[in-house]
């Protein structure tokens, strides 16, 4: 019987009621009395020198309150980068400045040049059109390899080149890896592109800045996954506002997928401008603006080599990747192609020798940073594609080849610096074969052939490192922040509980799942517990939601705080029951004395905590509220096996997904319904990357896929029902819930399955194609099969 509440129950989401009835409170629904509107005048060229900005006419236009340019931000900090990577030679990465409004040069289409604050949106836009710009257009660099050539135009004149860093990992392994590849029985080589994507949460970004002169306090309402991080970065590094004078609120947020982690210029601008003009300032991004101002994702160009011995054991992996940083370093950009990518190159396999080289490159394009999976999809894709290619070259079954090389002993220290605590890759592969009905594939292929379609099967595994993660480790790796999280459990006098958490929910359902955990621990009804998140003035601290970390990290903090609450409550109960604390048991919301019928219920104890008439005041304080910060001992390592069946229309190259299954190991699961929903969404984004989505620049740095007219978002009819399973469970060994995280798995695990399936389908039609770069549009597939 499935449980109907607590850990393991598919509790229905309480937040749904407001979303289903139009009562959600998103940032664009926030309107502050007296607010003004800002329109950003953005560069329409990729690279230019700014000779002059003439705002004289614009300033006289109706409704204009004030016009800001880069000059207004001289002497004010630029947008900081939160991660410093050290290169192969021990040198820090090249780190350019990132002004709030352009100073001297514009470096990508969309770079903000001026900001017009006016009484209405349209007035602001009208005035922006009247600003005179004197620009000298410069040649743009778009292609990464071109950008690294001698004499290439430099994105940042004060840097020595367009190379941000040249990273080697693990550098000490390099010679041994080279040697192993030279001596291998077989080496499979694959060159590929991991396509640039735009995260496209359905809610465009919004920022509202407010300033209260009475107490010198600033408030920023923003579409963020981590309001405290924004408070820290913006307050300390950009505007110089101390934390106690700066409140950051992220109300309901309409999806993030990584792109709402980062601190953006528009947030700093509205906060700054509100202080300057002493009025609230609101910015609402249009979708067109989002395409040129939200950080993009992926964009790697990779060569991977997989060496095997004569028995098909993997002996070495060597990769060389060019990672696009765009024109500036977005908040966590340097970490994505390095520590979130290189450390995952072992995958699920016991390859003894691995060397990863990554060259991060500046180009005249929108900055690139984390997007769902962040580095791990890039690692998984190249590894699972090269394994599939190797199987094809060697004429062996791709599943068998994977199984043969699985890591089977845990804990397992990889040659790329991480230690997997637990996992069972054979179990997820077994489960996958079952739920996908792999034995029925041959018959399904026949049926497709009868319709004139080629059917293919693609399988892959994935591992991810998430629950990001131990502060001392990430500090060594260059993070300029800790990655713990925090929770305060505030028990009210009547027994209800408010939990202030540092994680932010923007679709993940924390408001439902977090109470399930506490309800289970105490034995009270979930409805007695509410989660408070997204407001820096209400919660103790928090590093926010990304990297599938909310439950593993913040949930663990919440467990620790609840444990403290229970310990104190037991002391109170012992006093009330005139028993020894050691004899007090808490079960189903009742404290009882072991071996007796004496008991007091939860509300009796909480009331005593706030009405301490009969209370051990000499031992403990009144009240019942505890805070815990939790810094994990390791990453968590969810893993799984995915399978995809496609049909290819040989006449048009069109690919349709016919069947898709995911067998995941997420450790323990709090709410299966929500976990499955997370996997569904991740798979859809992975299929989107594999078949549909691409942010494409032309050679002049113009974004060609700059709206939904050209950037193909997955629609309902592009996708099937998915078969998902998470019954394989090896609980995480180092967090109190034994949970691993499920938010990114789908996006990490699905692209290689889709591409492997298409390659297989083409092979079944007699077209042996080594590789096709994503997205596998009909056009690309048709070209590949007609080469």
């Amino acid at each position: 019987m499935p449980k109907d509440s607590g850990i393991g129950a598919s509790s229905k989401r309480r937040e749904d009621v407001r979303f289903l009835t139009g009562k959600g409170q998103y940032t664009d629904d926030v309107n502050v009395y007296g607010q003004t509107y800002v329109h950003f005048l953005r560069s329409d060229v990729a690279h230019a020198k700014i000779n002059g900005i003439d705002t004289s006419v614009a300033e006289t236009m109706p409704g204009v309150v004030r016009i800001f340019t880069g000059k207004d931000f001289e002497g004010i900090g630029g947008l900081p980068c939160g991660w410093q990577v050290t290169d192969r030679h021990g040198q820090p990465m090249q780190e350019p400045g990132h002004p709030v409004l352009a100073q001297g040069k514009v470096r990508h289409v969309g770079d903000p040049i001026a900001a017009v604050v006016a009484e209405t949106r349209e007035q602001a836009r009208d005035a922006a059109e009247a600003i005179g710009l004197d620009l000298t257009e410069l040649p743009a660099v778009v292609n990464m390899k071109e950008a690294l050539k001698d004499g290439a135009p430099k994105v940042h004149d004060d840097l020595s080149s367009n190379l941000c860093y040249d990273w080697g990992f693990v550098e000490d392994n390099k010679a041994a890896v080279d040697e192993a590849i030279k001596n291998a029985a077989h080496v499979t080589t694959l060159e590929l592109v991991n396509n640039r994507l735009v995260a496209n949460p359905m809610e465009p970004r919004v920022a509202v800045g407010d300033y209260n002169a009475a107490n010198d306090e600033s408030t920023l309402y923003t579409t963020s996954q981590n309001p405290h991080v924004i408070r820290l970065l913006m307050g300390a590094f950009v505007l110089g506002i101390p934390e106690h004078k700066l409140r950051v609120v992220a109300p309901d947020v309409g999806g993030g997928f990584g792109t709402k982690i980062f601190h953006y210029a528009e947030e700093a601008f509205v906060t700054f401008a509100a202080r300057q003009i002493k009025r609230p300032v609101k910015w609402t991004s249009t979708r067109s603006e989002a395409f040129m101002s939200d950080a993009h994702g992926r964009d790697h160009v990779t060569k991977i080599e997989l060496a095997l011995d004569k028995d098909n054991n993997f002996t070495a992996v060597r990769t060389e990747t060019y990672a696009n940083m765009g024109a500036y370093l977005s908040t966590f950009a340097p970490s994505v192609p390095t520590w979130l990518h290189g450390t995952l190159m072992a995958g699920n396999y016991k390859t003894p020798l691995i060397y990863v080289n990554v060259k991060a490159v500046f180009t005249n394009t929108v900055p690139v940073d984390a997007y769902r999976g962040a580095g791990r999809p890039e690692a998984t894709f190249q590894l699972e594609r090269v394994i599939d290619k190797a199987a094809r070259e060697l004429g062996v079954d791709p599943i068998k080849l994977r199984r043969q090389n699985f890591i089977t002993q845990f804990p397992y220290a990889t040659p790329v610096a991480v230690e997997y605590d637990t996992g069972d890759y054979t179990a997820t592969m077994d489960k996958l074969e079952e739920i996908m009905d792999l034995s029925g594939f041959a018959a399904r292929r026949k049926a497709s052939e009868a319709k004139g379609k080629w059917r293919g099967l693609g399988v892959n595994c994935y591992i991810e490192a998430c629950g990001i993660a131990p502060s001392n480790l990430v500090g060594q790796l260059g993070a300029r922040a800790g990655l713990y999280d925090a929770a305060t459990v505030r028990v009210n006098a009547t027994g209800s509980i408010s939990v202030m958490v540092g994680a932010h929910s923007h679709g993940q359902g924390h408001e439902t799942t977090f109470p399930q955990v506490i309800a289970e621990m105490i034995g009270i009804d979930e409805s007695q517990i509410d989660i408070v998140h997204g407001d820096s003035s209400k919660i103790p601290f928090g590093m926010g939601t990304y990297g599938s970390r909310s439950l593993a990290v913040c949930g663990s903090a919440m467990v620790r705080a609840t444990e403290k609450v229970i310990r104190k409550a037991k002391k109170i109960a012992a006093h009330l029951l005139e028993a020894s604390e050691a004899d007090i048991e808490l079960k189903n919301g009742k404290f009882s004395v072991a071996g007796t019928d004496k008991s007091v219920d939860w509300a009796g104890v909480t009331l005593a905590a706030y009405v301490p008439h009969n209370y051990p005041l000499e031992e403990i304080e009144p009240g019942l509220e505890e805070t815990a910060f939790y810094d994990p001992a390791n990453f968590t390592y969810p893993s799984g096996a995915y399978a995809c069946e496609v049909e290819v229309d040989p006449e048009t190259g069109k690919v349709t997904i016919e069947k898709f299954a995911a067998a995941d190991d997420f450790g323990n699961v709090v709410n299966p319904m929500i976990v499955e929903g997370q996997v569904h969404g991740g798979i859809a984004q992975g299929i989107g990357q594999a078949l549909l989505e691409a942010a494409v620049y032309d050679e002049n740095g113009q974004l060609q896929s700059a709206s939904y007219m050209d950037y193909a978002m997955p629609r309902a009819d592009d996708l099937p029902f998915y078969i998902v399973d998470h019954s394989s469970c090896t609980p995480c060994t180092h967090n109190p819930l034994g949970v691993k995280g499920c938010g990114e798995a789908g996006a990490i695990g699905s692209p290689p399955a889709v591409v492997n399936a298409v390659i297989d389908a083409l092979a079944s039609g007699g077209k042996n194609v080594g590789h096709i770069d994503m997205p596998l549009t009909p056009h690309r597939v048709w070209k590949a099969m007609n080469q």
Binding site: K12, R13, E15, D16, V17, R18, F19, L20, T21, G22, K23, G24, Q25, Y26, D28, D29, E122, N200, P201, M202, E203, P204, D252, V253, G254, G255, F257, T286, R287, S288, I435, D437, H506, G507, Q508, G509, M673, I674, E676, G677, H680, G681, G682, I683, A684, Q685, S707, Y708, M709, M713, P714, R715, A716, D717, L719, F721, Y722, I723, V724, G746
Partner: protein, 161 residues
């Protein structure tokens, strides 16, 4: 400015608007009905979907003056008279047909429009009908499932194959 009046969720409303005022802006800003969302500017995402005279339209691609005299329905008017969730809304909650909630009002309005003309749509019909409504969170699985369930179809076998 033009004075317009219309019925929104059964309530008579009036307002002064410019020619360029979109219906969605009239709903969100004049009437403070912020359940209708704007997710794009090329008329593709469908977060702004409402009903005008019973037809599904994108309120970001219709001027408010063109709705003068019309009957407009938004997500705020979809609950039962007693305030409880409609069958469709309840099915979305039951089957986890939403995550961040931003596209949800448009999905509800599009789906209710479909069920009016096609009370028991197939999976394919539902997916086709949702062509103009983009969701980035759910992968559509549970949206399609919720709409099938709301139309009284057995969804217990979906993805349990």
């Amino acid at each position: 400015m033009t004075k317009i009046s219309m019925t929104v969720n059964g309530r008579q409303v009036t307002g002064d608007v410019e020619g360029r005022t979109l219906l969605v802006d009239f709903l969100r800003e004049n009437l403070r009905l912020t359940g209708t969302h704007v997710g794009c500017d090329t008329s593709q995402c469908g977060a702004c979907t409402v009903h005008v005279n019973g037809l599904q339209v994108k309120s970001c691609t219709m001027f408010a003056v063109e709705a003068d005299g019309a009957e407009v329905g938004t997500v705020e008017g979809q609950q039962n008279a007693d305030g409880s969730l409609s069958t469709l809304q309840a099915a979305f909650q039951e089957h986890h047909g939403l995550q961040c909630g931003f596209c949800t009002p448009g999905m509800i309005m599009a789906a209710s429009s479909l069920l009016k003309v096609n009370p028991k749509p197939t999976e394919a019909e539902i997916r086709h009908h949702l062509e103009g409504n983009i969701c980035r969170c759910t992968g559509y699985h549970n949206i399609v499932k919720a709409i099938m369930a709301a139309s009284g179809q057995d969804v217990s076998k979906i993805a349990a194959e």
